[in-house]
Symmetry: C2
Subunit: 343 residues, 2 copies
């Protein structure tokens, strides 16, 4: 079983080497799917919906609550907090540059940003809406939204759950963080990286980190939509970290497929802005980046890094912090004359 997985993995990597460099510059834009082309009006609508607390059952939680685009694109908590103070089981991944992931969620259970956006709204411990119909009814009940949906999607019934997700996804495709020190370096600015970061850049290759953390956002190769790039975590269990950070307490992708091969398989997360997105791993169990580097080297590559090596790699990871794009604050259309969540 393990052997066949490794062969598959090697084959994947071979394919990758033909389509992507290990050190890509972040593209200036993310491609939209054919059935959801972007437009300024759609992005503006999606931004409003991303910040819309009325998409949660009690009007307290929006997408931005856990994927804060005023900061790291995460909530920087071990696990997120949904409606009524409920805690989830996994740490919110950053929304920045998530357009470049070939599957969404830690377990890859959503193929696209469109699919992903439909999840948290209905998750009872996240935004807690009882049904897609109720979510649509909430939005349909706000004249300022109905007008925008008409303009963006047309048709006699423009406010649908699919279209809500499409607008949110169109906005998320704009959430890119260009011009990290690494990108400037790759574009030719040889002073963009410190000597330490350059040592770290060499180390992530020689140590072996980039066998998985490669591609546009260092989350693996550009695979077809829905084809997640998964790895087993932990791979090596001959260390104290597995117990200390409860790394096997969650089955990972197995929870989606119920296929034994998927036990503890996880979608490889991005390195971009990783210095901003503590705490780390699916369970948010590791608070600092240096410890996260140590844990990964040991559990994935069975290597013990020196403190200097860890510091060098952390310096390189810090060079992957991009510039958060300036955004206008959205204005949410009112629900005039009555309480937020009721008719």
């Amino acid at each position: 079983m393990k052997t066949s997985r490794k062969i598959l993995c090697a084959a994947t990597l071979l394919a990758v080497s033909q389509v992507a460099l290990a050190f890509d510059v972040l593209p200036a834009a993310a491609e939209s799917p054919a059935d959801n082309p972007g437009s300024a009006a759609k992005v503006a609508l999606g931004q409003q919906l991303f910040f819309e607390p009325r998409l949660s059952v009690d009007g307290t939680v929006s997408c931005n609550s856990c994927h804060n685009v005023m900061a790291s694109g995460t909530d920087n908590r071990p696990v997120s907090v949904g409606v009524a103070g409920q805690k989830g089981g996994r740490s919110a991944p950053t929304v920045w540059n998530s357009a470049f992931l070939s599957a969404q969620f830690w377990d890859g259970r959503a193929a696209s940003l469109e699919d992903q956006a439909k999840g948290p709204i209905l998750n009872p411990i996240e935004m807690g809406m009882p049904s897609a119909e109720e979510a649509v009814a909430r939005i349909n009940d706000i004249p300022g939204y109905v007008e925008q949906f008409k303009q963006v999607f047309g048709g006699s019934n423009p406010v649908t759950y699919d279209n809500i997700a499409k607008a949110i996804a169109a906005y998320e495709r704009t959430l890119l963080t260009p011009d990290s020190a690494h990108d400037l370096h790759e574009k030719g600015d040889k002073n963009a990286l410190s000597a330490q970061a350059k040592r770290g850049m060499a180390l992530v290759e020689t140590v072996g980190c980039t066998s998985c953390h490669n591609g546009t956002i260092f989350a693996g190769p550009a695979l077809p939509v829905g084809t997640g790039f998964y790895q087993k975590f932990p791979t090596y269990e001959n260390n104290d970290y597995v117990a200390k950070y409860d790394l096997k307490g969650d089955d990972g992708r197995y929870s989606v497929t119920k296929n034994d091969n998927d036990k503890n398989m996880w979608r490889v997360p991005t390195w971009r802005n990783v210095a901003l997105t503590a705490p780390y791993f699916h369970n948010g169990s590791v608070a600092t980046l240096d410890e996260a580097v140590r844990v990964m080297a040991k559990t994935q590559l069975d290597k013990d890094l020196s403190d200097d090596e860890v510091a060098d790699i952390v310096a390189f990871l810090n060079s992957l912090t991009g510039k958060l794009p300036k955004q206008e604050m959205p204005q949410l259309p009112p629900t005039p004359g009555r309480t937020l969540t009721t008719k």
Copy 2:
């Protein structure tokens, strides 16, 4: 007791008539106190702090959670939800134009915006920080904030609880909503108001609403800072509304002063943007603006309005919805390499 209060009220109104018109235009700017002059850098810092979830104990609640400046400046809930899903006892007042209130909170317990800002951060059921020192430590622990506090406030120890409040208050003083239909009308655009709104404008005077709802933001006269403009609510109890909406379930200003004269006394709230700020009253018990108008006429003036009168007054109140100013989205300085709320 009641008589003496009425005499005082009459005296106040006499004073008012000399300093403010019943129908003011919203000023273009709010005056800053001498000890907290505004500046672009201070406002930018205050905006970040206003949106800062790290000022709550578990990193989930910011000022904006309950005073949403993407919308009505409130949370449009009957009562707000703080950390761990806890519910408060009163409905969040709008932050829009709150710079023009002479006292803050429903019970006037804060004299200024600066004083107000210090309350929710430490309130166990709102943002829940255990102490001012802890809040300061959180901010002091974020290099991007320390740098800004140095620039804005100077000195060797610029991050203080007072300065956090000053920055937030400076931002809040910019949260004005000019150019409502009413304002355009007052400035001379005779087409800005519908005929119905004009009828409503006449009615609020003849019915008597503006004996309290007058001044710049229709929340009473411009009194010295800290001198709240209070009225008893309900004044008349010969109606079903008092029980139906539990209007006496909260002692109001008495909870601050323990003075019997202050039982059920409340700071008069603004009418500006009132069409956006449902549900209504200190307990958020009334969901619609028309019902709120009926309740106020009956409980404060012992008058039964016809449906047409209510509709006219609501049309006038709708004309008080201003233009929300365009804002840039703040970028919150990171807490690199570790979890949001811990060192």
